[in-house]
């Protein structure tokens, strides 16, 4: 279940992946490359300039068995939060 923006803002991510300035498949490949550095149960935050990344990482988390926690829209970019589940 997605978290509220306030809950997301209070999260302390174990890893922040800055994929701003890249286009598909950049943010997805960076998410895949970095999730292994997050402990199981920990949170990865992915930054992307593209709104479409939100749905893409949602689909990715569902497919590979992680938990999509939600996203926050900032000026010109998106903060997307995923919890590593396995």
């Amino acid at each position: 279940m997605s978290m509220s923006p306030d809950e997301l803002k209070n999260l302390k991510p174990d890893k922040v992946v800055d994929a701003r300035g890249t286009s598909c498949p950049g943010p997805l490949l960076e998410a895949k490359r970095n999730i292994g550095q997050v402990p199981v149960g920990g949170v990865m935050e992915v930054l992307s300039s593209d709104a479409t990344t939100v749905r893409n990482l949602q689909a990715w988390a569902k497919k590979v068995g992680h938990e999509y926690l939600g996203h926050i829209e900032e000026a010109g970019y998106y903060r997307i939060f995923v919890r590593r589940k396995k």
């Binding site: 598909c24 498949p25 997805l28 490949l29 895949k32 590979v64």
Partner: protein
């Protein structure tokens, strides 16, 4: 068992190879197993002495310069870098048609990222369970 994607790459045009590399790398990131079979021009485009020099476009040739300029402005990676990243982090195997390899007089070692030479029948059996298949 992982979902499986099969891609047959006949073309050596960079616009098509870009589309192929985005699909293959995204699928690999989503834990799909991706098997790629290179045929004639596909094998040529994976030659070590061709891969980075090749700027052949298959469509809208007159727009090529503008497209290349825009891609550079966006700092978009080249198709082979996208595929390489997908292969490093996911399950992508690339096989070159043995007949095409003979046509170009190359071995596996003359080709970038290629795991092995293969004949069509073996590839067809290998991907018989693929949920998605593409011919580029």
């Amino acid at each position: 068992m992982a979902d499986k994607m099969a891609i047959v790459v006949f073309s050596g045009s960079v616009d098509r190879l870009l589309g192929m590399s985005i699909l293959a790398s995204s699928a690999a990131a989503m834990d799909w197993e991706v098997d790629i079979f290179l045929q004639l021009w596909g094998v040529y485009a994976f030659k070590k002495d061709v891969m980075k020099e090749n700027m052949n476009f298959s469509e809208f040739e007159e727009l090529k310069d503008a497209v290349v300029k825009r891609i550079q402005e966006l700092n978009f990676p080249m198709w082979y870098d996208i595929l390489k990243q997908g292969k490093e982090t996911g399950n992508i195997h690339i096989y070159a048609c043995s007949t095409a390899a003979k046509a170009w007089n190359v071995t596996k070692d003359d080709l970038e990222m290629v795991d092995d030479l293969m004949e069509a029948g073996e590839f067809i059996e290998k991907v018989r369970d693929a949920k998605l298949s593409f011919f580029i």
